[in-house]
């Protein structure tokens, strides 16, 4: 025998309300978002199709927004990390400058440098968001992958943000490697070279692909890196390099165009090529280049003929060794400029996502023509506020939950609490 709840007026009202709710739910099983009772295409093909398109577009828009939001979280996590790294690098520059003063214990300074280098790599590892990290490599952290793809529209074409560490240095494992600062030693272990270009840089006077290629040879440890200039104006970039690559010699092509590019542009291409090979490059105000990292000890400009390198002074580049404090500071400065370029790339990615996010409001306008479609942030915020007040009143007269079909899906929000 069931107990009677009829004596309780409130309960009676509740029962009526809930019966209505139940009715609404069962009616809703057959209703589509247009409010028309169409559950199959055969009931009314036109309305069914429009309703389905709108529903699919809202679902699609949500998927795009999910992807953008995820991308924004990864980018902002990385930006916040790189901004901390920039602070550490400033302090490292101070430490490097102090290493030139007499009377300061180099051991103490080195310990300080090691701690700072360590914290740079820590920041890199900590920039992992949901398994994605664009600041370091899989060899260094448990991040599953390093390139971020963000869906940018209903068509599904992704916008890609490359891994910043491997973009700077293909051989990098840690963020420190990418910045070119791993193993920085204040006690004389850090060396570098300085290249000074005279006004008549004669790279173009060589006949690349013909008898000789202009080449910059860097000696780092037991390895030689040969940067060979290939003139795209002569052979469409398909010029064979002259020196053979083997275990101790790495060949890197530096593409330039002698008819369209200025000397500065050619030097710019060289800087990129040297940086991408993992060296730190810093351009000084007088145009000279400081090249550091990987134990570099010597640099020589010349030409390559038939696989043999001959140093040449006529090319207009002189090379001098950087040692001691000078080399340490050059290394840190190059790391600072690398960190700045990562920060700039992340800033550009952030702009891009903002742009895509604003574009999605155009799609929203086709769906609701309301607050969600306003691009002016202040205006939209104010409209949303007013609209939410109306929503509040309407929700108050409802017994149903908002997500009344799969309410349990909300439980995923309580994970990791």
């Amino acid at each position: 025998m069931a107990f009677s709840i009829n004596t309780n007026l409130n309960a009676l009202a509740a029962l009526q309300s809930l019966n209505q709710t139940q009715q609404a739910v069962s009616q809703a099983q057959n209703a589509v978002s247009t409010g028309k009772k169409i559950s199959q295409a055969s009931d009314n093909p036109a309305i069914f199709s429009i309703a389905n398109t709108i529903n699919a577009n809202i679902a699609g828009l949500s998927a795009v927004s999910d992807s953008l939001n995820f991308g924004a979280q990864v980018i902002q996590t990385a930006s916040s990390a790189i901004s901390n790294v920039q602070t550490v690098l400033q302090s490292l520059q101070q430490t490097a400058t102090e290493s030139g003063q007499t009377g300061i214990s180099l051991t103490t300074l080195q310990n300080q440098v090691n701690a700072e280098l360590n914290s740079i790599n820590q920041y890199g590892r900590a920039a992992t968001f949901n398994g994605v990290n664009v600041l370091t490599t899989t060899g260094d952290s448990s991040a599953t992958y390093g390139t971020l793809n963000v869906v940018q529209g209903l068509s599904g074409t992704p916008y890609s943000i490359a891994n910043q560490a491997t973009t700077l240095n293909g051989a990098a494992t840690t963020l420190g490697d990418a910045l070119g600062i791993t193993g920085l030693s204040v006690s004389g272990g850090t060396t570098g070279v300085q290249l000074t270009f005279d006004n008549n840089l004669a790279i173009t006077s060589f006949a690349p692909g013909g008898g000789a290629d202009a080449s910059l040879q860097l000696t780092a440890g037991a390895k030689t890196y040969a940067f060979e200039f290939t003139d795209d104006s002569l052979g469409g970039g398909a010029i064979p390099l002259q020196t053979a690559q083997n275990a101790t010699t790495q060949i890197v092509a530096v593409h330039f165009n002698s008819t369209t590019q200025s000397t500065n542009q050619i030097v710019g291409s060289l800087i990129n090529a040297v940086q991408n090979t993992g060296f730190g490059v810093q351009q000084n105000t007088n145009g000279s280049l400081n090249i550091t990292g990987q134990g570099i000890s010597a640099a020589s400009f010349g030409s390559v003929t038939g696989g043999a390198f001959t140093a040449s002074a006529t090319i207009g580049v002189t090379s001098a060794a950087l040692t001691g404090t000078q080399a340490v500071i050059a290394t840190v400065q190059s790391a600072i400029s690398n960190a700045n370029s990562i920060a700039a790339n992340l800033g550009a990615a952030s702009q891009q996502i903002t742009g895509i996010q604003n574009f999605t409001s155009a799609l929203s306008s086709a769906l609701t023509a309301g607050v969600g479609a306003l691009t002016d942030a202040d205006l939209a915020a104010e409209s949303a506020r007013l609209s939410s007040l109306q929503t509040k009143q309407q929700l108050a007269t409802q017994s149903l939950s908002i997500a009344n079909q799969q309410p349990q899906s909300l439980l995923s929000l309580f994970k990791n609490l």
């Binding site: 409130n10 509740a14 809703a28 809202i58 995820f70 607050v371 309407q394 997500a403 009344n404």
Partner: protein
Amino acid sequence: MRNGAQRYRDIADTTRSARQTEIAAFALVIRDLENANQPNAHATLRIAALGRAHDLWSLLVRDLARDGNGLPQTLKTQLVDLGLWAMRYSTLAILKDLSLAPLIEVCQNVLDGLRAQPVPILTNPTAKSCAPLA
């Protein structure tokens, strides 16, 4: 044939628990956003709070857009509209230094609406949780 009391319990439990879950979710999101809106709040806190706010609205909008959501058409459209705004605002606020106050206020209004029950729901200690709809 199920009697009135059983039917009442089933529907009340489902409706109440779903609505209670939403109330708890909005309360959580608002608490996180308020913490993140403090001066000197850590960037990680802000990113996580806005990520969760986005996910909440995304889940709601997906359910609202599916055939069979039982809310009245006007309310559905309004909530989808608010949701699309909230999702966009959350993402932009991760990337830019936007105030979190408008988002907090919108969430608070929805929470208040959810909390204001049209009829008092009786507590029933013996009720099964998450009973399926009859």
